[in-house]
Amino acid sequence: MSAAAGPLPPWVNYGLMPVLNLTVAFLISGLVVWFIGESPWEAMTVLLQGAVGYGEGIGFTLFYATNFIFTGLAVAVAFHCGLFNIGGEGQAYLGGLGAALVALSLGDLMPWWATMPFAVLGAALFGAAWALIPAWLQATRGSHIVITTIMFNFIGSALMVYLLVNVLIVPGAMAPETRIFAEGGQMPKLGWLLALFGLDIRAAPFNVSFLVALVMCVVVWALIWRTRLGYEIRATGTNPTAAIYAGIPYVRTVVVTMLISGGLAGMMALNPVMGASARLQVEFVGGAGFVGIAVALMGRSHPFGIVLAAILFGILYQGGNELSFWIPTISREMVVVIQGLVILFAGALEYMFRPALARIFARRPKPSPAVAAKA
């Protein structure tokens, strides 16, 4: 295929190709909107206006983006080791349990900044624990990690529903959710941050988790490209056989990578659980684990790209909510369609335009004198 045509210049690979893929995804989304009898142009204006047009919208966009940064980082770390962690959904769900337990126990005693480190740790620990068995099975018994993590998503979901319905529920209440966390178990809003830009976030639950997410981006960057473990992860991901031959312990690398990945996915729970609803609810993850796959793919598994991709998905999510509000014929699920199309074109059909682009932009090796002489 295209590999023979030589490498593409970075601006094509990291800039033009994702933009082209996104454009196709949006064009098809527009077709869907047109097909159900609405104006795609109007829909797009409403979507953008709702997502980035005013303070509260931006607050919501960044709130959703925070979720996707965490899950995107989780998928990316696993990608670097050649592992496909499709279990972010379950790991984040369990992470919520870790965060909630900390918020419920310490939240009454301490202010938020003292609770937070424990909450981050708790969420990460529970998320990592949920990745442990799939990781260990992949490393030692060769069980396909995609399948085992999917299975663990469902096992996790069943476990959490059981715990919420039977154990964590407020006695006498109907809704399967924990009690509201005390002040010390909640993440404060980041209204002041956007206020610096003259924006008012009003009810948007944009909170400190966003900063935690950004810190994690730096941590992941340093881990992958600046530490020995990161080197081992990338070596194992590129060529496990060579890595083993070079003395990198395969089982340890796989398990540690997955624990980090699960931990990052678990931390995602901080945002909706401690930052927004201040209680643990059923199904709070809402597909963010799967969106993380698209975010990691579009961001080319680099933290900087992941932040950009996460914001894009945040815009889609928030804008889509507004869309269904202003144009009732377009239901909320239009967001899901757009997300799916973006995942399809930016993820699975990533290389659709590559052959064509390679023909135009590939760096051809300079013709050698011998060839030139013949011609």
Partner: protein
Amino acid sequence: MTLMEFLLLLRDAIPGGIRLAIPLIFTALAGLFSERAGIFDIGLEGKMLAAAFAAASLAFVTGSPWLGLAGAIVVAMAMSLVHGFASITNKGNQIVSGVALNFIAAGLTVVLGQAWFSQGGRTPQLANDARFGAWEWPAVDAIGEIPVIGWIYRFVISGQNTLTYLAFLAVPISWWVLYRTRFGLRLRAVGENPGAVDTAGISVTFLRYRAVLCAGFLCGFAGAYLSVAQSAAFIKDMSAGKGYIALAALIFAKWRPVPVLFACLLFGYLDSVAIRLQGKSMPFVGEVPVQIFQALPYILTVVLLAGFIGVANPPKAGGVPYTKER
């Protein structure tokens, strides 16, 4: 609950279990065709859902369950083509493609449903003759009097709908296609060693496309069963993870057609027992949370994958796009 009541409950869960197993059987067989040809299919869930929507919409508009089924098959096969285009032609990531199709199906069914029928993503209730009705077998009352056999005849064999019988027919047919035809031999070969198939002068691409189309065809039946046979309308997210349970059943059956049938029946039965046990206590054990039964198929599959119940060897070339040597 006494032991006797519990045993009766276990018996009464059988017919329901079969009904719950039917979509699993179709879908797991669909996955079988796809995965034996080396194409992972996480998108079974989405195909089933989209097919269910197409079946309910068409059956409502035309009043014919058969046209609904035909529409379901066309839609599911079209989705298979997209999956094939991404994972065979463009050598994209098969898992990502499947996840994308699941998203698209989950969203598009509701968006179109809302735009067409304005019932919050539901399709209108189907009249009885727009559905696949139950077949009443002859002499149910007479034969039903016989102890054990009569009960089986009355509640298991008789009174099922057309698609249920087709599901049980689909298992031997799939077995025959996969193990007794030239197409099946090549399909299995392309999932193990596509290079060898290519060397023999057979197109890997065409073969894999036909395999994913078979998968789409079967998913169409599963979807139609959900919305036109089991219920009488399409409801938002009505596949509710059945595509993944089918995937688990496929793995639990170690990628073989006849064990697929039994795995699906087992998982369907567990589901049926769980529904009946809700809020009741089991003898000797006490009340068992329903969630255990819900998680059991997945737990069993993980235990199997860990190599504690025999060895499950997936098709060797599964998930790897085939690149012809240059």
